[in-house]
Symmetry: C2
C-alpha cells in the first residue's frame, strides 16, 4: 500500500485502538499528532477525517477529535453486526479454505496458546483479533473483511470501556473448536460455534462500569513502534 503520512497516521491510530492502548474518549490533538508523526496539520486533519469515516473517532467542531465512546445501544448493534457478518464469513471459510489455509489457522492457534502463557494482555488482545481477521481473509470477501476490521476495532473500544478485567478475551478453546469444525467442513457447526463465541464475548461485558483514563499520547502512539 501507499506510504503517505496520512496512511501511516491512520494505521497507527487503528493499531493503538485495536490493542486498547488508545481508549474511548482520548483527545487526539492536531499539534500533538503532527509532532508525533512529523507531518503538518493538513495531513493530520485528513487522517482524522478518514478515522471519523471509520467511526472510531468523533470530530467535534471547534473542539477537536476524540476517540469515540460507543454507547450501550451502539455496542449491541456492533455485536449484532458482527454476528451477521461473521456468519457469512465462516460459511465462506468452510467452503473455500484449502489445506494451506487450515494450516495457517492451526499455526495461529499455537501462537495464541503460547501468548496465553505469557500473561501479556495487549499481545493477547491483538492475537485474538488477528484470529478473526485471519478468518475474514480466508473467507475471501474483501467487503466483509473491511467491515470486520472496523467492527473489531469498535469491539476493542467497547471492551475497553465496559469489559470486566477478567473477561473480554476470546478463549483459545472456542477458537480451537471453530478451527476444528472448519477442518471437518461442518458448516452448520462452524456457524453455531462462531455465533456462540460472539455471544459469549458480548455476554461478559458489564455495561455500567467505568473506564480508567490513560497516559499521554506520546507513550501510546510513538510512530517508530512496529506496525505488527
Amino acid at each position: 500500500m501507499s506510504d503517505t503520512p496520512e496512511t501511516v497516521l491512520v494505521e497507527h491510530v487503528l493499531d493503538a485502538i485495536s490493542d486498547q492502548r488508545l481508549r474511548a474518549g482520548t483527545k487526539l490533538g492536531e499539534q500533538a499528532l503532527s509532532d508525533l508523526f512529523s507531518c503538518n496539520r493538513a495531513h493530520v486533519r485528513r487522517a482524522l477525517a478518514t478515522l471519523a469515516a471509520y467511526q472510531v473517532v468523533d470530530l467535534i467542531p471547534n473542539r477537536g477529535a476524540f476517540v469515540s465512546t460507543p454507547s450501550e445501544d451502539e455496542a449491541r448493534d456492533v455485536f449484532q453486526a458482527r454476528r451477521a457478518i461473521e456468519a457469512t464469513i465462516i460459511r465462506n471459510v468452510v467452503r473455500r479454505a484449502d489445506e494451506a489455509d487450515i494450516a495457517s489457522l492451526r499455526a495461529h492457534l499455537a501462537t495464541e496458546d503460547s501468548i496465553r502463557s505469557q500473561n501479556d494482555r495487549p499481545k493477547a488482545i491483538r492475537a485474538s483479533r488477528a484470529f478473526h481477521m485471519l478468518l475474514a481473509k480466508i473467507g475471501r470477501n474483501s467487503v466483509l473483511e473491511h467491515y470486520l476490521a472496523e467492527l473489531t476495532m469498535r469491539t476493542s473500544l467497547i471492551i475497553g470501556l465496559y469489559g470486566s478485567n477478567a473477561a473480554s478475551l476470546c478463549s483459545d478453546d472456542e477458537h480451537a473448536r471453530i478451527v476444528q469444525s472448519i477442518a471437518d467442513r461442518d458448516e452448520a457447526r462452524a456457524q453455531e460455534m462462531v455465533d456462540h463465541h460472539l455471544r459469549h464475548i458480548e455476554g461478559e461485558i458489564a455495561f455500567g462500569e467505568e473506564a480508567p483514563r490513560v497516559g499521554p499520547l506520546s507513550m501510546i502512539l510513538s510512530p517508530d513502534r512496529a506496525t505488527g
Copy 2:
C-alpha cells in the same frame, strides 16, 4: 446534523452516486469541486478523504480523486455482503416493526408505484434505494443501516457500470411481497424474499458490458439541487 462545507459536499456526491448521475471513473477535481460548492480546497480534500474511506472514491497520489470503479469480483462481494446484512435487517424489521412502520412501508410502495408510471429512471432508482434504506431504519440497528447505505451506493455504481438498461431496477412487485411478509410477521418468508430479491438484482447484471461516459461535473453536482 452539522452543516460544514465538508458534510454538504459529501452528501451531494453520495446522492449523485446513488442516483447514478455520477458514474464510476468520473474525475473529481479539487478546483472544480471548490468552485461548485464555493469552499476552499482544504474542505474539498477533507471531504474526498471521507468519501475514500466510504470506498466510493479512489484517491490516487498526484493524480486526484475518481469515483471508484468496482471490479466484477468486488461487485460479487458487495452483493454477498448485502445479503448478509439485509438478512439480519429484515429479521429485525419483522420483530420490531410497529403499525406505524408498516404503514410507512405501504406508503412507500404507493410512492414507488406512482413513480413507476412516470418513466423517470433516476427517480425510480432513488425510490428503490430508499425502500431498502427504510427497511434498515425500521430494523433499528444503526451500524447495519450505515453499512447498507454504503453498499447501496456501491450497488448503484455497479449497476451503472454493468447493468443492462432494461433491468437493474427493483421490481415493485418484490418490494410489495416483502412488505406483506413483514405484515404477516413471517420471518422465514421475509428473509427468503429479500434474499431472492437481491439475487434477482445481481443476476440481471451483465458483466463485460461497458459504460457510457457522462457530462461535466457542474451539471451533475450543482449544490443548489434539493437533497431530498
